[in-house]
């Protein structure tokens, strides 16, 4: 167990790991994305109430779900970097922020596109929507804070502190905003009891969610690898690897 933890703290090991995984993960994700979209967009049945506009669900919901989860990925990396001083955790945290922000942005934009035919407005002051906007601010805040420091070692510590503070707050934000006002769809995928949507719509949806998770991981790896290349540009192990 400790060896694994140790390995994850070692830049050469992680670099090699990314190098090995990316070549087969990348095509897999692309295929999954294509298949999932095709299934969702072409073969899943039309919704009797919303018609075809509901199909955006196959992007909207996975993006929303993973956007949330991404924050916890980032904050966990922050915790590790702060407590155990693992430098790689900084890199991971920094990698997660823009990806998470992008997912959040996708959720917001697809939601807005969906909202126009369904609610007749691009934007409503609804609980989940508002909290998604706030999540977006949290991500952007971490990114902006990192950029604002010239010294990146220090920047990483600052961001770690911020993302931890954010972690404590995310559930609170969610609950409070829910309490405030809600117009948005309640959670309809339930793992206990029956789901509110039909399985012919549900399976592609679940598939897309999984794919979005994998995509997240893939993007993280690409990002980490690139940071490592920059950071250790002058170190012997990287040169050896690149020359191999």
């Amino acid at each position: 167990m400790w060896r694994i933890v140790h390995q994850f703290g070692s830049p050469p090991w992680v670099y090699r790991f990314c190098d090995r995984v990316i070549p087969w993960l990348l095509p897999l994700t692309v295929v999954a994305l294509l298949v999932g979209s095709a299934w969702g967009l072409l073969f899943a049945p039309t919704d009797y109430k919303q018609g075809d506009s509901y199909r955006i669900i196959y992007i909207h919901v996975p993006a929303s779900v993973v956007a949330l989860a991404g924050y916890y990925v980032m904050a966990s990396a922050g915790l590790v970097s702060l407590v155990w001083r693992v430098k790689l955790a900084d890199t991971a945290m920094r990698a997660a922020a823009p990806i998470g922000a992008a997912y959040t942005a996708i959720a917001l934009v697809t939601g807005a596109i969906w909202g126009k035919p369904t609610w007749g407005a691009w934007w409503v002051w609804d609980a989940r929507i508002t909290s998604m906007l706030i999540l977006f601010f949290l991500y952007v805040g971490v990114m902006a804070l990192f950029e604002a420091y010239e010294n990146k070692t220090i920047a990483a510590r600052a961001c770690a502190i911020l993302s931890l503070v954010g972690t404590v707050n995310i559930p609170i934000i969610y609950k409070s905003v829910d309490w405030w006002y809600s117009l948005h769809q309640p959670a309809s995928i339930k793992f206990t009891g029956s789901s509110a949507i039909d399985t012919s719509m549900l399976y592609p949806l679940l598939g897309m969610i999984v794919t979005f998770y994998v995509l997240f991981a893939l993007l993280m790896m690409l990002n980490i690898k690139q940071s490592l290349t920059q950071e250790y540009a002058h170190s012997a192990w990287l040169h050896k690897r690149l020359n191999d």
């Binding site: 010239e150 010294n151 070692t153 220090i154 510590r157």
Partner: protein, 200 residues
């Protein structure tokens, strides 16, 4: 009997991407007077802050020191809207507050009698420096870390401060300070030229 107040082995000091100092070794015992010398930007302030414990991320190597430290940096932590007395009495580093008579004596030692209740912002540059230095004339820590303490002082003020340094060393304290002038502290004074530890 002398005790070690600060010990440094193989210290590297960084600032951002730049390595300022490398391979520094140093032992400061009671009774030492140590001047850090070197040109502008060589890293005197950075090193002094590292000694004070204010720079932990960018310092590598072994650094141990006693707990009983007084640090005074380029910025004197004086509030212009308060009087010298209020400034000293409520100094943020002072766990114990000095009594009024101690305060007056300290200010008097620096020739600031009559200004105890003036507005600090209205004092002259040298007078403000004196207020900041009055901490050294109050019951204080054993190891002093002072960044350019002689700045803005007139000749008489420099004299007073030098005497105080000697007194403090005699009382079992130690002083590490930076200065671009040659301090008149007799042969007790050691000068550490940081130019010879410049990083790559």
């Amino acid at each position: 009997m002398t005790a070690t107040l600060l010990e440094v082995r193989d210290l590297d000091v960084y600032k951002g991407p730049r390595q300022l100092l490398t391979g520094l070794n140093l032992t400061v015992t009671t009774g030492s007077l140590l001047q850090l010398a070197g040109g502008n930007g060589v890293g005197k302030t950075s090193l002094l802050r590292a000694f004070a414990g204010l720079a932990r991320i960018e310092v590598f190597g072994h650094l141990s020191r006693c707990d009983d430290v007084l640090y005074s940096g380029h910025a004197p932590a004086l509030k212009g809207t308060m009087s010298p007395r209020q400034n000293l009495r409520t100094h943020p580093a002072g766990l114990c507050s000095p009594s009024d008579s101690e305060l007056d004596k300290a200010l008097a030692a620096l020739n600031m009698t009559g200004y105890e209740d003036a507005l600090t912002a209205r004092l002259s540059a040298g007078q403000q420096r004196r207020v900041a230095l009055a901490r050294l004339f109050l019951p204080s820590a054993r190891l002093w870390l002072l960044d350019e303490p002689f700045t803005a002082l007139d000749v008489a003020g420099v004299r007073v401060l030098e005497n105080r340094f000697r007194e403090h060393a005699d009382d079992g304290g130690a002083v590490i300070f930076t200065s671009h002038q040659k301090a008149d502290l007799g042969e007790r004074l050691e000068v550490l030229d940081l130019e010879s530890y410049r990083g790559p």
